[in-house]
Amino acid sequence: MSAGIDLKGSFIDSLSDLGLPPGAATALWIPLPITLMILSATVGLLVTVWLERKVSAAAQQRIGPEYAGPLGVLQPVADGLKLVFKESITPAKTDPWLFTLGPILVVIPVFLSFLIVPFGQNLAITDLNVGIFLWISLSSIAPIGLLMSGYASNNKYSLLGGLRAAAQSISYEIPLALSVLAVVMMSNSLSTIDIVEQQAGYGILGWNVWRQPVGFIIFWIAALAECERLPFDLPEAEEELVAGYQTEYSGMKFGLFYIGSYVNLVLSALIVAIIYLGGWESPLPVGSLANWLGVSETSSWLQVIAASLGIVMTVLKAYLLVFIAVLLRWTVPRVRIDQLLNLGWKFLLPVSLVNLLLTAALKLAFPFAFGG
């Protein structure tokens, strides 16, 4: 693999030419990719909300949003603006501090997890060597926020919803972490960039989904449960708990929960795309194709095309998964709480342990195919 384009290096170089010390140039650079990433996460959220409403409508043979903008694409913006203008009620019996802190604590870790999402070999904010482990640890902060808001509401529905949310996410955290572990074992690294690079070279055949089919399914089920998507949306099961931990929330605080859950869905889809579906790799190996056509890998226009293709591929794969998640919502009925916990503890946990050991054994037996 070639060194590729280096945006950071050229930015710092051009500022140094203007007479800035390199330290200050780096300090100026740091907020740029982060702001870009937060903005793209927000755009991703709006697209997901629109997609959810349109696909849900299609599944029910309705038209869905159509007046706000062409095909209703501005509907999520209108929804968001409406929430900003809504009155925010804090019930008299709540603990006001925890009541406000809950939604904030749900949103921050979800956005923060975008730190590890790479869109290309050099198109990541930073290549952290703890990578995927950071995501796993950050994703366990959100249940504390849910528990906090459920408890602070001083409402029986909220309390039950918050407790259910916490029980659910801790039950599915372990199968999730164990199936990531099997992938980590194959790539010998926790860095998301290394995980994608280990899948490179053979096009669609090199993706981890072929070597980890069981892990892929476990991860997808557990990710849906962590996002509280149907069939696992028990914490806010409206027939039983009104709206779960969100019952007492209104206005922008409710909006923060909404943002958190949709950004989390996008994030989970991105992570599935990265660790199982080859991240920014195309289904056809572009590098070998370019070699075959006789184009040098280092030519700058090829690098620009490859980088754009990488971004498109990552986003495309992630939105395919979001689409499947939305369809699942209208296909599968909600499970009961005991079924949910049985599935997590008595099925997914043993299966993911066996999957991990099987991966280890296969890696010892066939080191070449399993990233020896």
Partner: protein, 120 residues
């Protein structure tokens, strides 16, 4: 010297991600209507006057799941370094991890038989 290279981005991201909810809440605070009377601030309970509060004792089962979770979460954390360094450790480490997981499987079976994983 031990340096945290790459983590300056983490700090920057933490600050900017923290600004997202703060900006949203502040914007809403400046723009929204002031709100109505004290009746709106009552707790919702399907249109009834709420009977008692919610800060009471609740089901012990949630604690049981949390306890089992701690056991297996710590197990997973112990397995992470093993998985990352697996290609250098080889067969002996595999057998050791097998024993480690076997012991914890006994714990899972015990919790299962004792009914810690039952809801009803």
């Amino acid at each position: 010297m031990f340096t945290l290279s790459g983590y300056e981005y983490f700090l920057g991201f933490l600050l900017l991600a923290g600004a997202v909810p703060l900006l949203a809440l502040t914007a809403s605070k400046l723009l929204r209507s002031p709100g109505g009377g004290p009746e709106r601030r009552t707790t919702y309970e399907s249109g009834m006057e709420p009977i008692g509060g919610a800060w009471i004792q609740f089901n012990i089962r949630y604690y049981m799941f949390a306890l089992v979770f701690v056991v297996f979460d710590v197990e997973t954390v112990f397995l992470y370094p093993w998985a990352v360094a697996f290609n250098q450790l080889g067969l002996l480490a595999f057998i050791e991890a097998l024993i480690f997981i076997a012991i914890l499987t006994v714990a899972l079976v015990y919790a299962w038989r004792k009914g810690a994983l039952e809801w009803s």
